[in-house]
Amino acid sequence: MQFWIIQTLNSLALGGLLFLLAAGFSLIFGLMRIANLTHGSLFMLGAYVGVTVLRFVPNLWVATLIAAVLVAAFGGAIERFLLRTLGGNPLGQVLVTLGISFIVADACLITWGGDPIPIAAPAALQRAVSIGGVAFPLYRLTVLGVAVATAIALHLLMERTRLGAMIRAGVDDTAMAKAVGIRVSKLFTMVFCLGAALAGAGGVIAGPIMSAYPGLDADMLPLALIVVILGGVGSLFGAFVGSFIIGAIYTFGSALAPNLAYVILFLPMIFVIAFRPRGLFGRSAA
């Protein structure tokens, strides 16, 4: 029984972390049809910025905010100066986003060195709580909470604000959105900044669990891709659900079928895409 309780909690915590990672990617891809392959390195950059901020201000939430802002600015610059000119050129987008991710990864290696740097969770959250007789780290539950809060906030943004309406219009039909006067290019930049901010913030919040280390970007990017594809393109709800499904599959799969540890995440995705190419909740084909 203990095994099931703790693994369920692990799944939920991992799912929360994945959502924080994938939400930004889903947003950008959903609206702009750009597979932002720098997403992993933005996540890692956020984590490293957090490391530095924490040296001066030992408050994780402040670090999260600052990292979000800085990474958002960086993301905005990428979109404005590089991606904008590549409208109908998906191959060019792949090349430039991967190129930037190489640059960012190497820059991080120079600046922060090759060793993993731990990020401390807020002192109040560093203990384990007892749930159903098992000890579980409180911070992981916090991450889950933050993920849910973020999901709710994004949902409200999409459904209840004008900006959200514009974004949804842009996702559904970019040409018509332009026709009715929505400043699509400005919207794109804003959304890209928001996606980057989510990535950067995610890096810091996941920091106490993952640490900041070279290679974090390459480890995280495939996970973001898997979640978004499984959940369905253009659907934040899909990304949310997808995150938890992946979290559960990974957690239980690694425990119950250790020989499949390497492929446990890819097999379900292959099945889903093969039978339902737009993912579980996708609005349009990828």
Binding site: F3, L109, G114, D115, F136, P137, I209, Y213, G215, Y250
Partner: protein
């Protein structure tokens, strides 16, 4: 046919350009310098160990005025990024373009295996850091000398210590799912069970797993201790999460030679105190060579030297001793190789010599993490002298068995 013209122009242009750049560099050791290549990893996940390797070797050379046996030493460094095919290419570059006489490294086992045939073909004396067992056991390479240890060489004594001194009866093992991890755990299991203990669980998470939560949840809690065979920073990450789940104090933790290396310890806190590990080195070793080495390294880089730094520093000493035995004539490969294998020298890790397969025979230290002068160190609490890769087993019998792996020796005491 414009494409073919372009293609060949580009290829020919690149080729001629490259050849033009290359021709002047191909001097055939006319200058009398001894050229030593360092095959290491400076980018990618193994980077921090690889960078330490370079730092320590450069320090060694500098302390000797970049001169050994009266000849100037030229050091060429190759970065393989941990990819075996790239290691081979870099090695070719070091041999064919730079004309090295001997090579220190490579770092990763797979790199050594990838380059095995090349080393034989080129007859390149190699002072390896990589721990791949069979390179000095069932597929011995005559040009190979290993100054560090095999994967299991330090695990055998630790298993003995756990069974006889610490009196553990039931243990689990966990390591990265790579050959290094398998070999180390297999060695530990064999000696531990031969001494009356039982290994009740074995876990091998993939090397790049993002999170150990699911493995911690699977871990049995009715054990005396768990052995960590991790490499790089994974031991540190696992242990951090181990503490988060409130398991500290409930289960003892012992580590292999890289799990709680000095490089990793410097990022840890009081939670690491008391952890017992085994290795052929500790920055706290109290011999004159090490006192000097560790102090100088700490002075330069502000952290203690660990496994990787000590590895190349020791290999440097071995290189020097062998060079002295052949009066500096490294070009005579057969004689130099013979001298390498016959080397007996005092180094930062204590006295070392080599067995008939080229693997090192030396002390293995049992260490405990303590706080000294405000930093965490691996204090030596026990020494096993003259440990070879075969432990107390007869080499012929040892080699009749298959190489240590995930499934050999078979684990008979696993509990579901």
């Amino acid at each position: 046919m414009s494409f073919t013209r372009r293609k060949f122009i580009h290829a020919a242009g690149a080729g001629v350009g490259a050849a033009a750049l290359g021709l002047p560099a191909r001097s055939f050791a006319q200058s009398g310098n001894v050229k030593v290549g360092l095959m290491t990893v400076k980018t990618g996940p193994l980077a921090s160990g690889g960078i330490d390797m370079e730092r320590a070797l450069v320090q060694f050379m500098r302390e000797h005025g970049n001169t050994l046996t009266g000849r100037k030493i030229e050091l060429f460094v190759g970065d393989s990024a941990g990819v075996p095919a790239q290691a081979r290419t870099k090695m070719q570059e070091l041999v064919e373009r730079d004309g090295i006489h001997a090579m220190i490294g490579p770092l990763a086992a797979a790199e050594a295996l990838a380059a095995d045939d090349y080393i034989r073909a080129q007859q390149l004396p190699t002072l390896s850091v990589a721990a791949a067992e069979d390179m000095t056991q069932r597929k011995p390479n005559p040009w190979f000398v290993r100054g560090t240890s095999t994967s299991s060489q330090c695990a055998h004594p630790l298993a003995d210590y756990c069974a006889r001194t610490l009196k553990y009866k039931r243990m689990a093992v966990i390591a990265d799912d790579i050959a290094y991890g398998h070999e180390m755990c297999a060695g530990f299991q064999r000696v531990f069970e031969d001494a009356g203990g039982r290994i009740v669980q074995k876990m091998f998470p993939p090397l790049t797993v993002p999170d150990y939560a699911t493995y911690l949840a699977q871990m049995k809690t009715n054990i005396d201790a768990i052995f960590l065979g991790f490499a790089g920073s994974n031991g540190f990450r696992w242990f951090k999460q181990f503490n988060e789940y409130g398991l500290r104090g409930k289960i003892n933790v012992v580590g292999g030679m890289t799990a709680f290396d000095e490089a990793v310890l410097r990022n840890m806190g009081d939670e690491a105190l008391g952890i017992v590990t085994s290795c052929w080195y500790s920055a706290e070793l109290d011999n004159p060579i090490n006192r000097k080495f560790a102090a100088a390294f700490r002075n330069d880089w502000k952290y203690d030297p660990g496994f990787y730094a000590a590895a190349t520093y020791v290999e440097g000493a071995v290189l020097e001793a062998a060079l002295q035995a052949v009066s500096g004539k490294i070009e005579d490969k057969q004689a130099f190789m013979k001298a390498l294998r016959a080397t007996k020298v005092d180094t930062a890790r204590g006295p070392v010599s080599f067995d008939e397969f080229g693997n090192i025979v030396g002390n293995v230290y049992i260490r405990k993490v303590e706080r000294k002068e405000g930093r965490l160190v691996n204090t030596v609490i026990h020494t096993y002298p003259n440990v070879s890769q075969f432990w107390t087993y007869d080499p012929k019998e040892f080699l009749k068995n298959p190489v240590y792996s995930r499934d050999w020796p078979p684990a008979k005491n696993l509990e579901p």
